[in-house]
């Protein structure tokens, strides 16, 4: 095996990597700043200096930057060389000349890469006697706090924000020791991934503004591995909590999904769980509560007893599940009410869309790709989905894909791809194929080869045409206009020419034909022998999990109540007013004898409940979500839900009338699920079970430096309480536990000796930037199958706008469309006001300008909203803000009447 030598020790040579990455991967401590595994090397900070020797006879060698030298066979370097060591120390000393000594009041303190590197190099005495340069900080919006004096000019922020995430409102200004990173003027950072600056910045320039509202040091945070509940991608997160509330969310590295980066919705939505609208106690109808006397809220036992009485009296029980509740909770409900009386909680149209999406993916020769595979695709077609708004992290992955084809083209120049500046220089403006077909302009359009903005039906027709152009066996599209046909041919050509072609679509436009068209494209590529990926975005964190359990559509639940076949409903974490039209939901509740609702927050539906049970949100729950990729992933509570709050599946288990059949643990739920739904058996393996131990101990949620454990409850009792027990997870609510690094599914902190910042992640990976040590968590339940599939052939007719009518299209927004995240104060500050979006032609015809009020009759009722003119929106389509409560319950496709 070809080797290289570091400090006299032989290691395997890895010519496709650089010496810094290789050194770190072998556990050697070499300080660095500007290098980032996802951003590559620029050799700017001069921190990873080592001495390189020509051969074994060379005793003088020369100082080189390890991040800029490939780890080729025969390379000989010394990290422990005295001059190299002094060089590194002096670089830190020089960086420190202007860095303030404000660590005690800096939010980064204690988890600061700059602190770690300063200690690592041994710089501890200040010689610089002169004033430090100071800057004015900027207001950068509700997510990010700015403190420029701390900057060490590593340029990581702009390299992430501009080069990686495509942002164009953060830049470097001025020169020399006045270099300033910020915006041209104060204002919220526009990019949907700005929160990653918090982790990308090696010091405290960009810190979490929401954390500031309830600041806690890293070592005082209790943390647990979780899954983001705010879209269908299943990004892995680390949730931190103290004093009974969630404090922040950090990225938890998953090699195949989110990698190093989260979206801002996922990072800053956590605050909803701390709001006063959280449900903390059961609510019982007045007669039962009256027995309590002095206004004491009912206990869990009282609530369960009251519900059991109601259930016994009931002349017909139904259960309404939810795509935002865990697999276990949905299953527990189904088990309580019986499969015939379990409803998915989705309206007919959406229920059908999810069933179609699942049918397409479950028997598909095309692979449902992970986000990593999306980033590595070399030709992408996006059909109908505004990814930045509906599945933001996927948009970031697609943005990386456009560099795949250029990377292949410059491979002949024979330099490694991690040389970021050389790569940029070689590639220039060359971009790989990305075709986006969407109703309105999207935030990815700037990266696209070509875009098509058309009504949903025409987008589907375009998709079908692409499939036909790939494989003539796929059904042709009649009467396609030549321009669209030409674009379809170009897209087909690009996909066919690619090594890893990819088709992405989703359900956000509520247009079934789009799914068929996307499936046809994927399958056509497979039939032509291309290893195609086919990814479908769905609305919620567990849409696929709930969908796989079956469940009848909501409409049938309403009918059952209407026809007096049911008088009691248990509604699981679902606001029906977001699903159906208000009058239908009102009528449903009016006719129910007893409405039992489980939810974490107050909603329009909880307001109609007779009995209300406080459910734990994802951050306080254990459960399983199945992502749009088809991956089952486990999340664990960061806090024990404070009694009587409990996971929905726990409540529902207690309600089961037959003690013998009642399931009381999550493990028991998963075993029962596997028995009934063999294809969900893998969900049990998504994370180690409750009995898992490392060296005989469970994994601690608190750090060993956790402070104030005996004082934290001192206002209640001077005795230290026993830590809450966790019978469900191999994690403890305590600082006691294993000191060994746990499997990735159970990671609670990134921490290693000498590495206190998030960069300690290096020590948890097989190789830096590679998979988690011991494998990445989650089980893929959907794998491609080489089965013959008949092409979809329900090609819709071309869109025709009709006088006085408009087709309503949902326009999604990353900050506002998702139910729970829009409650979070920071997210709410970025939520645009509700508006009707009009094409310039439609606005002109009606004499409307930006901001004018437009009234559109929907379901016979006028809805009045201000007008926003969207230059790219097709004529005849009116966009409405998807997920805004006052516009909920519109079943698509629907037409509106201009008034």
């Amino acid at each position: 095996m070809p080797t290289l030598t570091i400090d006299g020790v032989a290691y395997p040579a890895e010519p496709q990597k650089n010496l810094l990455q290789v050194s770190l991967s072998h556990g050697l401590d070499l300080p660095y700043f500007c290098w980032h595994p996802a951003l590559g090397s620029v050799g700017a900070c001069r921190q990873c200096a080592v001495r390189q020797y020509r051969d074994e006879n060379d005793s003088r060698g020369q100082i080189v930057m390890a991040c800029m030298v490939p780890a080729t066979p025969g390379t000989r370097i010394a990290i422990e060389d005295e001059e190299a060591r002094l060089f590194r120390k002096s670089v830190i000393e020089w960086l420190m000349t202007n860095h303030p000594h404000d660590c005690p009041v800096c939010d980064e303190g204690g988890e600061c890469h700059l602190q770690d590197m300063t200690v690592m190099t041994g710089h501890c005495t200040r010689r610089h006697r002169f004033p430090k340069r100071t800057f004015t900080n900027q207001y950068l919006g509700p997510f990010i706090n700015h403190e420029m004096n701390r900057c060490i000019q590593c340029y990581r922020c702009v390299r992430f924000y501009r080069d990686y995430a495509g942002g164009r409102d953060l830049d470097a200004f001025a020169s020399r020791n006045h270099v300033y990173f910020g915006r041209s003027e104060d204002g919220a950072l526009e990019n949907e991934f700005s929160g990653n600056l918090i982790e990308v910045c090696p010091t405290g320039v960009f810190t979490d503004r929401t954390l500031k509202n309830h600041y806690t040091r890293k070592w005082d945070l209790q943390s647990a591995p979780s899954i983001c509940p705010h879209c269908s991608l299943g990004c892995n997160t680390l949730v931190g909590a103290r004093y009974g509330g969630v404090r922040r969310v950090l990225n938890r590295y998953h090699h195949h999904i989110n990698g190093y980066f989260l979206c801002d919705r996922g990072r800053f939505a956590y605050e909803f769980a701390n709001l006063p609208i959280r449900l903390r106690h059961p609510v019982l109808p007045r007669p039962a509560a009256a027995k309590d006397g002095a206004g004491r809220p009912p206990t869990a036992a009282e609530a369960i007893a009251a519900i059991r009485t109601r259930l016994r009296r009931s002349r017909g029980l139904i259960g309404i599940g939810s795509p935002r509740a865990s697999l276990e909770s949905n299953y527990a409900l189904r088990r309580l009410v019986g499969p015939d009386r379990y409803f998915s909680g989705l309206p007919q149209g959406e229920s059908r869309l999810i069933a179609v999406a699942l049918d397409i993916l479950r028997d598909s020769p095309a692979r449902s790709p992970s986000l990593r595979e999306i980033a590595e695709a070399d030709a992408v077609l996006v059909l109908g989905e505004d990814l930045t708004q509906t599945a933001p992290r996927m948009a970031l992955a697609v943005r990386q894909s456009i560099l795949q084809a250029p990377a292949a083209r410059v491979a002949a120049l024979n330099f490694p791809g991690w040389m970021a500046h050389a790569f940029q220089n070689a590639v220039q403006d060359d971009r790989g194929p990305l075709f986006i077909a969407s109703v309105d302009a999207t935030r990815l359009d700037d990266a696209a080869t070509a875009v098509l903005h058309a009504p949903p039906a025409d987008l589907a027709r375009f998709g079908f045409a692409v499939a036909h152009a790939i494989d003539p066996e796929a059904p042709p599209v009649p009467d396609l206009d030549p321009e669209t046909a030409d674009l379809a041919n170009r897209a087909a050509e690009a996909l066919l020419a690619a090594d890893r072609p990819l088709v992405l679509s989703g359900t956000s436009l509520h247009h079934e034909a789009l799914l068929g068209a996307a499936a046809n494209c994927g399958w056509a590529l497979c039939r032509r022998g291309r290893p195609a990926g086919l990814g479908l975005v769905v609305p919620e964190a567990n849409t696929f999990g709930a969908g796989l359990l079956g469940g009848r559509p909501l409409r049938e639940a309403y009918e059952l109540v209407e026809s007096h076949q049911a008088d009691t409903a248990v509604i699981l974490e679902n606001d029906l007013y977001r699903r159906s039209h208000g009058t239908d939901v009102d009528r449903f509740f009016d006719r129910l004898e007893t409405t039992i609702v489980l939810d974490a927050v107050q909603t329009a539906t909880t307001a109609r409940a007779d009995i209300l049970l406080p459910a734990a949100p994802a951050s306080e729950s254990q459960g399983t979500f199945i992502s749009q990729e088809g991956r089952a992933q486990r999340f664990f509570p960061v806090l024990p839900p404070t009694d009587p709050v409990a996971e929905s599946w726990r409540w529902l288990g207690h309600l089961h009338p037959d003690e013998a059949r009642a399931l009381r643990s999550q493990e028991a739920m998963l075993i029962a699920i596997a028995a009934e739904f063999p294809f969900l058996a893998g969900a049990r393996e998504a994370a180690p079970s409750a009995t898992f131990r490392l060296n005989g101990a469970a994994v601690p949620r608190s750090s060993r430096r956790f402070s104030g454990r005996t004082a934290i409850h001192a206002h209640l009792s001077v005795h230290e309480p026993k830590p809450p027990e966790d019978s469900e997870a191999p994690l403890t609510f305590s600082m006691e536990g294993t000191t060994t690094a746990p499997p990735a599914a159970l990671v609670t902190h990134y921490w290693a000796p000498g590495w206190n910042s998030v960069q300690a992640l290096n020590k948890f990976q097989d190789e830096v930037g590679g998979p988690n040590r011991g494998g990445d968590p989650g089980i893929r339940l959907i794998e491609p199958r080489n089965v013959p599939r008949a092409y979809h052939n329900a090609i819709p007719p071309a869109f025709n706008s009709r006088e006085g009518l408009c087709t309503l299209v949902p326009l999604h927004h990353s900050f506002g469309s998702e139910e729970l995240s829009r409650l979070a104060p920071a997210i709410a500050k970025r939520t645009p006001p509700a508006a009707f979006s009009l094409s310039p032609a439609d606005a002109r015809e009606r004499g409307l300008g930006e901001g004018d009020t437009l009234s559109i009759r929907i379901y016979g009722r006028p809805v009045r909203l201000p007008v926003r003119i969207h230059p790219q929106l097709p004529r005849g389509c009116v966009g409405f803000p998807a997920g805004w409560p006052d516009l909920a319950g519109i079943h698509l496709p629907t037409e509106g009447h201009f008034e």
Binding site: R168, D171, F173, A174, S175, S184, E185
Partner: protein, 154 residues
Amino acid sequence: MLSPAEQAALDAELPHYPARRALCIEALKIVQHHRGWISDEALRDVALALGMTPHEVDSVATFYNLLYRRPVGRHVLHLCDSVSCWVMGCDGICDHFRNRLGISFGETTPDGRFTLLPIPCLGDCDHAPSLMAGNRIHGNLTPEKLDRLLDELD
């Protein structure tokens, strides 16, 4: 909006560059030539003309010390404060500016006639101390020579 004269000057440069945003420095020079300095509005005008964001243009504008992001006087005097000029007494020239005009580095006389800015090396070390006024270098500066120069500039 760029003025017709600015637009014409920009259009004349266009064929020399492979991409619109490569014109950024040239565009800023044109705008500064016509408006004296680069205001926030000028920044937005250039951004619009080149398909860039104001942030991107500002990043370029703030990098170069011959592009002015604040209003300057009719004559901008760039006095070298680098090593050779420092050894040869640029501090004294600086003092003379303060005594005669009442301005230090980064300041403009109240009558809007002169702005004094530092510049690190004009490549005129053999005639240090040295300054640049407009497109001309004035070396071997003494207070007397500076007085003559200031008198010449209206």
